[in-house]
Symmetry: D2
């Protein structure tokens, strides 16, 4: 029953057309890649970061203004994955002024617990979030590295802080819309057009952030949602990762990619491609409105995932500081 | 009964000598302060940060090596506050490869939920964590600003990212011990000695981190614990905040301050002083071992609290990058 | 913000017309009652149970067939109160065969945690769930009895097991419908009609269960929901409690009563009336389909709330055993 | 790391002497049994209950006094399994009088969430809790029936309410002690002595409750604990289940059996034997003090597990009503 519910959940929410037996050459041939950084690698493309790369971008900082790329975490906030059975966001007080007897006369003592899906609000997806045919990045299997409480490989605890050059591709602005239409799949040409208009070039090792404009609908859970989110097409993701050598992909929607996927057997083709085959992490639900408004397209990007041992992701609050001359 | 348990919890864990009626002039005179930054201020001393102060420290960066000041979050980790009734750290899988029916053939889908006290692992205490006589920082009362799910004032959601000059005062090294003895209360002279040996001066607006060496005992929950932790005396905290104008205080123990407190009615005199009277936030359970080993005492400090709406704190993973010439 | 969200949640979900200043004589005059069972009473009408009353109904048992009146608790189940910010139902494995290293060779060790709103699935509402003007049943105030982690009065921990005569009023059958229409408010005449057709009389101290037929829509969360649930009118509830002297009211919907309430300032007029003014507990989301099918209208009713200290309710799985002669 | 912690947890808490390679003939030969009730059976010995058996015991009721065999669930309560990484008990308010803005003027609205290990307080262990060599009761494997969120076989949702003859064997009284000494393993002779003194005979299908007296130490978590709990020896459990044909075993300690186990590779030999090989469920942490005081040794036993889908157990609050003539 749990299983049926789960299947129905995915089918219902994502509109999957589950046609058993249908030939899907592309997906079924896919498998997780071996890492070019060696048999013990767990972080993939983040290996592109070095002391040199960090110092290089730090030295380009021209301004002291900090752009906050994270959203609030709050009761009732939009979530990608409650329809898939994941927990909704909860904050609850465990100590409360005038109600905590040990301290009520002098101290006003407040404390609180928090409970959430690790992929809540602005967050990073780690490489163990999606694999292919039983293997995650670097061909690690569940038999090798999956315990009752999570993976021992490629979890958030293995992730370094991310300090790199970040770039923003404002596709919504390039197309002169508040936000891309539902389920719109961004093409390579869309990215190239926007980059050209912005006078921007991607460099190897960049954190590449794509703006769909969907955050203009935040936090309405009926509008800011996964089921029909615009986002990257698989081709666009491939172009960014293979041709442009992006280190990390991020966006202002849930999931970076466009939903629902066309492949009836793979509801997250971009996820499985970047995570399992390219070792490229995703950052989702980014607040890009302030960067976009100020036309800050090149910046020092800083994100510091919580080292949740085994975690398939972590809520983060990334920062950007302009490195543009103007 | 819940109340009795809670009282017994505090008494038992912290060794409070609850002598009702005993005269405690200092504590009972105290009350939360009005903010010098105005009636709507919710972040206190963090107002010392400006675009100028941030750019100033960013420009001093000389190295690309990043020091990670956060600890792992894991099942069974030491926690300050389970004896006070707070939740222990939990990570649990909500999607699991080969067990998630919708995706089991092609995709290896992993996801997880997390549940914890907001003051777990390396974390920041926000100004609504402790008040005095019913008022938190800026004389905000529960009647004004406390809802069922948390405060509407001075929560983690109101906190800016912290980008400032950081300094490390290595008291354990100065005293030539692995770690300070249980319940040791660091004096002003201790801080001055260590600063002199390090050739270091605190500047107004600094994030001042004190090293007790307690992290050498991490993660043994019998040794790394709150009940008899060494840490700052109230006098030392006052010297740092008032004389030296520190913006934030941090340490490598639970609670920054020394436990158990001598005041039988206030088990956290440093907390209530810095949070309620000075608007100074605390950062706790910092990993300072790598900075200490490399003798990095001056650095760019970066921390980005999750914007948990109303939260009395947030787990964080701060970073340090040396600004020393050598 | 949290506050605004919460208000909007109630307004949106329940269609409240919040007209400030509107005169609502009935509600604003109401206040919580003193208990006729004395100043220390916390359980209200449950005091009607005695050893004699229990033995009386136990001795009437004629059959060994047990009717299970509880629903399953499962991921994705319908919940009353997620729109009000309450947690959704979660079950998560903490030990898992072949993944728990300490035991993986010999033992296949499974364990799990559970997290939910206390009013999930079939459950009882205790007398501290709703009060009026700051007082719950027996005029207990928050200042007297509300701690950070719940009430010290009238919580589920104070509740005795319930062993009493139960009766079923099948209103849906009486009206010859699968289920009552959305928002239908059952009248006194509806109850009297159904009782007459069933040849059934209520006795003082009965657990009175009303069938709306809504469980025929379970577990579709779009159809089995609180927002427009049929249920008792306030008049019908009053008739059951005052005229008929029911000890407990139960039903097969969320909330027993009809939603949305007509009173713009009180979205749960039956709750506040029975809990705060009459000391009568509610049992909600009961599975009554088997009793209805077999026309079992008089039965031994057994429910045993978990003694959650301070809890405003408890999930339960009540049982019924026919005491009918046939 | 999680794995190592878990192993150390078990070793540390239970004092296991893990000697790899040591010959343990008994355990390694064991495997889960096929059910005599057929290939689809998920509840094992509970199949012994029939309408006839239930009516038989119901008709023997002579008294209206109800014995409550459940303990309170509260913040800070003793728990078996926090040292194994399981969640501690949490209750937290989600709605709170005068702090819930939508209702604060008229209604005093309280609500709460609960979070716990399913084996918290008085609870039942279902047959999927422990298997042997990868198979649970009826030789069900994880490949067949284990999803990401729990088993689809033998979970608490499959359990019928338990209505049966219960008997109490008061071993502590028979030995004239308040409670058995730490780690004491009750022998067959101990049970026979106590039964003889009580003038009591076990009948096939009984729920057999053993009293160690450990509840006299409740709720001190330093004394009422799993690590060195007295309880049944494997031989005594076998005698109850095989010779006496008990349907369910219960006790007033955590785990029913004696800890630490002598077998270095099986820390729960009674659990794995009764659950996986005999289909006999366990009920733990029972409050037997009132029955013992009143010398009520034969009774109607009623327990109604929450139907947690897939759950390896459920908190319950069982009831007893005397069927003794006196």
């Amino acid at each position: 029953m749990t299983r049926i519910i789960a299947v129905l959940g995915l089918v219902g929410v994502l509109g999957l057309a589950m046609a058993p037996g249908e030939a899907i050459a592309q997906s079924t041939d896919d498998e997780a890649a071996k890492s070019p950084w060696g048999s013990t690698d767990e972080i993939g493309a983040l290996n592109m970061m070095t002391d040199g790369s960090r110092l290089d971008v730090l030295r380009q900082v021209r301004h002291g203004k900090v752009y906050d790329l994270g959203v609030d975490l709050f009761i009732g906030m939009p979530t990608c994955c409650v329809p898939f059975g994941d927990p909704n966001f909860q904050l609850f007080m465990t100590h409360s002024p005038s109600r905590d007897p040990a301290t009520k006369e002098l101290l006003s003592y407040s404390g609180d617990g928090v409970s959430m899906y690790t992929h809540t609000g602005t967050h990073i997806d780690t490489l163990n979030h999606f694999g292919l045919h039983g293997k995650i990045w670097n061909q690690v299997t569940a038999a090798d590295a999956l315990g009752a409480r999570g993976w021992t490989k490629s979890g958030a605890d293995k992730y370094p802080p991310i300090i790199a050059r970040g770039v923003l591709i404002d596709v919504a602005k390039s197309k002169d819309v508040d936000h891309l239409p539902p389920s719109y799949a961004i093409t390579v040409a869309d990215l190239q057009d926007a980059l050209r208009k912005q006078g921007l070039k991607i460099q190897p090792g960049d954190v590449v952030l794509t703006r769909t404009g969907l955050m203009t609908l935040w936090p309405d859970p009926q509008k800011y949602r996964l089921a029909d989110s615009p986002g990257l097409s698989l081709e666009a993701a491939k172009w960014l990762v293979e041709t442009q050598q992006a280190m990390v992909l991020g966006a202002d929607n849930f999931g970076v990619e466009s939903f629902a996927a066309k492949d009836p057997r793979n509801f997250v083709p971009v996820h499985s491609y970047v995570l399992a085959k390219r070792g490229v992490s995703l950052i989702e639900a980014l607040w890009l409105e302030d960067l976009a408004k100020d036309q800050v397209y090149e910046f020092l990007f800083i994100a510091s995932p919580l080292k949740i041992r085994g975690g398939t992701g972590s809520p983060i609050r990334p920062l950007a500081i302009s490195i543009q001359l103007k």
